[in-house]
């Protein structure tokens, strides 16, 4: 798996464990279905991998205790994760949001705009689409017609905000 954010490839600080007995003191990622057990096991930091068909409200009780939420993209063309990320940010989630699945570089700016921080792609995809292609994809369209999507300094500038200023 290749993990990258807007600055490029990065190591994954989270590990999967055989049993939650191994969790204490570690940064552990587990399935969202096991979130209660994971949190009870006392990891240093907790992360979950969630399917994209959950209700954002399902995450609400855990948001301030999860350092990372990874949302699975079963295919590149299934865009539910984009809306789910947007809703999680609206609920006030401050941790890391990861898009996990066979996305391709042209979707990287879309993922970031919707609130994701990073993407994790299968090795086979990464072999065809190395990090340089992902970073290049961020700079192709530098403007957007939507107002409050882009996060951070590298997102496209809102045409509406520019017009409002002029």
């Amino acid at each position: 798996m290749l993990l990258l954010d807007r600055n490029g490839a990065k190591p994954d600080p989270f590990i999967a464990v055989e049993t939650l007995d191994d969790a204490p003191g570690k940064n552990v990622i587990d399935a969202f279905a096991s979130v209660d057990a994971l949190l009870a096991a006392g990891p240093a930091q907790a992360a979950v991998l969630a399917p994209n068909d959950l209700d954002a409200e399902d995450f609400a009780p855990y948001l301030d205790r999860l350092a990372l939420i990874a949302i699975r993209f079963p295919s590149a063309t299934d865009g539910r994760g984009f809306s789910l990320a947007r809703q999680l940010r609206r609920l006030g989630y401050k941790g890391v949001l990861r898009a996990s699945g066979p996305l391709f570089p042209d979707q990287f700016p879309q993922a970031l705009a919707c609130g994701f921080d990073e993407v994790e792609i299968p090795d086979a995809n990464a072999a065809r689409q190395p990090v340089a292609q992902w970073l290049a994809a961020l700079n192709r369209v530098t403007l957007s017609y939507q107002r409050d999507y882009a996060r951070g300094a590298t997102g496209p500038a809102s045409i509406l905000d520019r017009r409002a200023r002029s």
Partner: protein, 555 residues
């Protein structure tokens, strides 16, 4: 017309470069064919039966003379000298080469045009009344609202990977001329009791293999809230719409399966969160767009044109054209003039480069530089002086564009069908041509009166056959082409889906079957009744009986 600013231009240029990069990465193997396919579709590039096809966006059907001339140039240089106007008010070029498409996109960008989101599972071209800004009966010009939606929906980062395509139409009149209830979302501009202008929203309409009528989801939405409410609808659809079966992935199926009340509750709940999270909506951008659409500098003219009346008296062809192809304008002394792309025996919606240039010249000289494309696959000069109609008619006649058949039986809507389309199950254009010739006699057409025929070459219903007075659906049946006929459909305020008359017929039997159907109408109609009115009064039974004689004869 809306005028692009530098920011609108920049985003189109950047999108062209992005597409060029996508093509490059497909060619070097970075993108698989499966990955590339939705990317090329989102930029209007289809792989058809014989060639690539490029669908160019014509937002809400509006073109300037300069833009239409550029389309003529592209038709000449990169196609076989013609283009095809569609029921989504776009234009398709059927014969471009893949390697030439970036050059075509460059030519389009030169005139503030593009192919963005003309296909793919995203928000498509927003359409409206072809008489927008001219119609006597509109509350206001619907184009600023359509442009507002166009911008909001362009390259939207969240709604680019929907379960299926998403189509929005806007109208501002009581009489629906934009097939509002046949769209994923229909936006009707209305005034409430307090005199405020806002929107009435319909959701879940559509044709295709499961035709449905759009349902009222919000009776009145204050203007400033439109984009926030659309965001809520799209988010609910993106999250809840089915992903397991592409034939059940349109929003109409979601609304149907969970029910309108549950759907509305979800949208309203999502919308209340959108409102709580976002800064208060404002109308600055809407007002900027509206100012860009400022009304042409109309002259004060008398209601009646003596010049036109005299010319009509001298020329029965002109008189017939005036009777059929003019629409009442909001400004005295002006009309909106429809240029029929349904010449007798022609391919519906096709225009040659030379014809496009002639229309562009007419628009420049006589219609404030404006041309519209209608969903009925005709062109419109929206602001024409009555005095100028004879001169315009003469030019149109010389170009083979003066067919006086608007809304008559030969004004046939027709998809490209099996002559071009990879999805088609039967040809549609040859049947349209046959029927057009069959009913060519102007007196016969006049006698029959207003009647719509729409021919789709497959179940996807690009020609809207379900909502035709007489709808024809071409299917493949044991190796041959078979045509099912429905009657009684209506695209407007009395929105109705047609009823199937019986088994499919071979193309050769269709004209006679339609003769029989029309025979029932002509025998039974009361004074002043149109075909659809007689049908509503009689019901389908007598038509079925007449149809059966033909069906039995060919069975």
């Amino acid at each position: 017309m809306y005028a692009y600013d530098e920011l609108d231009r920049q985003i189109v240029r950047e999108r062209v470069a992005q597409f060029a990069s996508q093509v490059e990465r497909r060619l070097d193997g970075s993108l698989t064919e499966e990955e590339f396919r939705p990317l090329r579709l989102k930029n209007g590039v289809y792989l058809q039966l014989h060639a690539y096809m490029l669908r160019v966006a014509i937002p809400y059907g509006g073109l300037s003379s300069r833009q239409l001339r550029q389309l003529a140039l592209i038709a000449e240089k990169y196609d076989r000298g013609y283009g095809h106007f569609t029921t989504r008010t776009n234009i398709q070029f059927n014969w471009p080469k893949l390697r030439e498409i970036p050059a075509i996109l460059g030519l389009l960008a030169d005139v503030d045009m593009h192919a963005i989101q003309t296909s793919g599972n995203c928000i498509r071209n927003t359409t409206t009344d072809c008489f927008a800004g001219a119609a006597f009966d509109e509350i206001e010009d619907p184009r600023p609202t359509a442009e507002w939606i166009r911008q909001w929906s362009t390259l939207h980062p969240e709604f680019d990977w929907l379960g299926r395509k998403f189509k929005i139409a806007v109208t501002a009149t009581q009489q629906d001329r934009a097939v509002l209830r046949g769209h994923d979302v229909g936006v009707r501009i209305v005034r409430n009791a307090a005199g405020e202008t806002g929107y009435r929203l319909y959701v879940g309409g559509g044709l295709g293999r499961t035709p449905m009528e759009g349902k009222l989801v919000r009776d009145f939405l204050p203007r400033a809230e439109l984009l926030g409410y659309l965001e809520a609808i799209l988010r609910v659809y993106n999250l809840e719409g089915r992903r397991d079966n592409k034939f059940k992935a349109r929003i109409k199926i979601l609304v149907h399966e969970i029910g309108l009340e549950a759907f509305r509750a979800q949208v309203e709940a999502e919308y209340s969160k959108v409102v709580a999270a976002a800064p208060a909506p404002d109308l600055r951008e809407f007002e900027r767009i509206t100012a860009s659409f400022d009304a042409p500098d109309f002259a004060d003219l008398p209601e009646v044109s003596r010049k036109l009346e005299q010319a009509q008296a001298a020329d029965p062809d002109l008189a017939q054209f005036v009777a059929r192809n003019l629409f009442r304008h909001k400004k005295k002394g002006y009309v909106a003039l429809t240029i029929s792309l349904k010449s007798i025996g022609g391919a519906p919606g096709d225009a040659t480069a030379e014809q496009m240039r002639a229309v562009a010249d007419l628009a420049e000289q006589f219609s404030f530089d404006q041309v519209r494309v209608s969903y009925k696959q005709n062109l419109v000069l929206p602001h024409v002086r009555r005095d100028d109609v004879p001169e315009i008619f003469a030019v149109l006649k010389a170009q083979g564009l003066a067919t006086p058949n608007v809304d008559l039986i030969t004004d046939i809507i027709c998809c490209p069908g099996l002559d071009y389309c990879a999805l088609a199950t039967a040809r549609s254009i040859p049947l349209a041509q046959t029927l057009s010739r069959h009913f060519a006699d102007p007196d016969k057409q006049k006698e029959i009166g207003e009647l719509s025929i729409k021919i789709s070459g497959c179940i996807n219903a690009c020609a809207h056959h379900h909502i035709a007075n007489i709808g024809i659906l071409g299917l493949e049946k044991s190796g041959g082409e078979s045509y099912q006929i429905t009657i009684g459909g209506d695209p407007g305020d009395q929105y109705a889906l047609g009823e199937l008359l019986g088994p499919g017929l071979p193309a050769s039997a269709v004209p006679e079957a339609i003769d029989r159907v029309i025979g029932v109408y002509l025998d039974a109609r009361r004074q002043g009744e149109t075909f659809i009115e007689t049908y509503r009064r009689l019901g389908v039974t007598p038509f079925k009986a007449a149809f059966k004689e033909i069906a039995d004869a060919v069975a």
